[in-house]
Symmetry: C2
Subunit: 233 residues, 2 copies
Amino acid sequence: MGRNKLALKKIDNPSRRKITYSKRRDGIIKKATELSVLCDIDVGLLIFSPNGRLTTFSSNGRIEDIFLRYFDQSNVLEAGPIEQEGALQEKLHEITQKLQERQEKMRPVSFFFLIVFAWSYNPDVVNINSVHDAIAHQQFLNDAIQNIEKLTMEIFHEPIDLQKSGCFQVPPAATRDAHLTAEELVDGNGNWNPPQDDHQPKEAHLPVSPHLSLEYLRTQKHWNLQGRGQGSA
Amino acid sequence: MGRNKLALKKIDNPSRRKITYSKRRDGIIKKATELSVLCDIDVGLLIFSPNGRLTTFSSNGRIEDIFLRYFDQSNVLEAGPIEQEGALQEKLHEITQKLQERQEKMRPVSFFFLIVFAWSYNPDVVNINSVHDAIAHQQFLNDAIQNIEKLTMEIFHEPIDLQKSGCFQVPPAATRDAHLTAEELVDGNGNWNPPQDDHQPKEAHLPVSPHLSLEYLRTQKHWNLQGRGQGSA
DNA sequence: TGATCTATCGTTAGTAG
DNA sequence: GCTACTAACGATAGATC
């Protein structure tokens, strides 16, 4: 199209690239508009410009509404897969550290959300097996709750410098009683052990972790340029 | 384009609508591909077909990576605004109830995430004032932690029927000790009250709630068809 | 029968300069 | 903006399931 064809590769000349960006961004937004109106459907679009500036399009309400619908559909089932212990912990720790290093002015809830999101997303899960075991499932749930709690504790115990940007320094969080792991609550035979007063705090772990079900992926079309998608071309 | 022009309105004929959908979906994905390659940028695209089927495009990795980048940019600051008590509680309750009614096969973590997301998103916040008060902030954090925990408890105490789809019925969660509200932990003078054994469970509340900063919105372009966006046309 | 591809054709709208 | 040029796509027909 246009006076002459463009090769499908990055435009070297920065100013030309920006011009092309503007034109095509507007074009694709128009297309998205038309598609959503003509077919009466939800469309969401996220574009990060060469300068890192974000342009968002959503056919209906906010882009977050589209996200919600996405996650709503992603709630697909299979039994919880087994995750090698520790890996998830490390990942979370890495994220929290990175965020703390940046000392970004972050709103606590967004921060908290990011953790939970990164955790539930957990893209690096491979070599996992399905286990239909209610006990394990319960372990997972308990550990999940405690892990989030624990993480939040750890995070907000550290002073995040929010004062510089009109926010506050987060004071030390409250002492909490919930530091039992499911391992302590369920014995080797799967029997329930109510918490005792003489327990010792212990590292929680996540024996089970989420991933998208294969069946779900098969019913959906996912495209991306790195060939990691599941789409039927 | 095409043999003759289409009016920019919903296509009445369902089969024609689907055909148009397919073509234009492929077209817009091609455009998104070209845009991301030519300009070397991240692009994410979410399309829900007339049948509710989801098509996803992401220029780089998974669509969730684009989400993460979005939320990363969205973590903008202002002091936490005051939220009228109760409204958020109601909203969360509504969501949990709706989800329970549907009895959908949901993965616990996704479910949990959805709650946290809906909570941190909270689009209905209006008429809020900024308050620079560390105590209130701490209350908020404590309440936040406890609310999520409490909700998770409430949710998973209820048997969610996951068995029909190869999943399990979630057994009653462990007895937890963390049902104190910040109100109980911090007295009227802002002093810290460690938990006592004779406390009574009580409804937690959220005095503070997140929203996107206006300044952030001003620096970004948001488009949508309902005129609620912030974009400069 | 209805849905979903494929192919072809001709018009026009996206876009490079 | 403008202009030139071509690729997106509406219509239609035929194939497959």
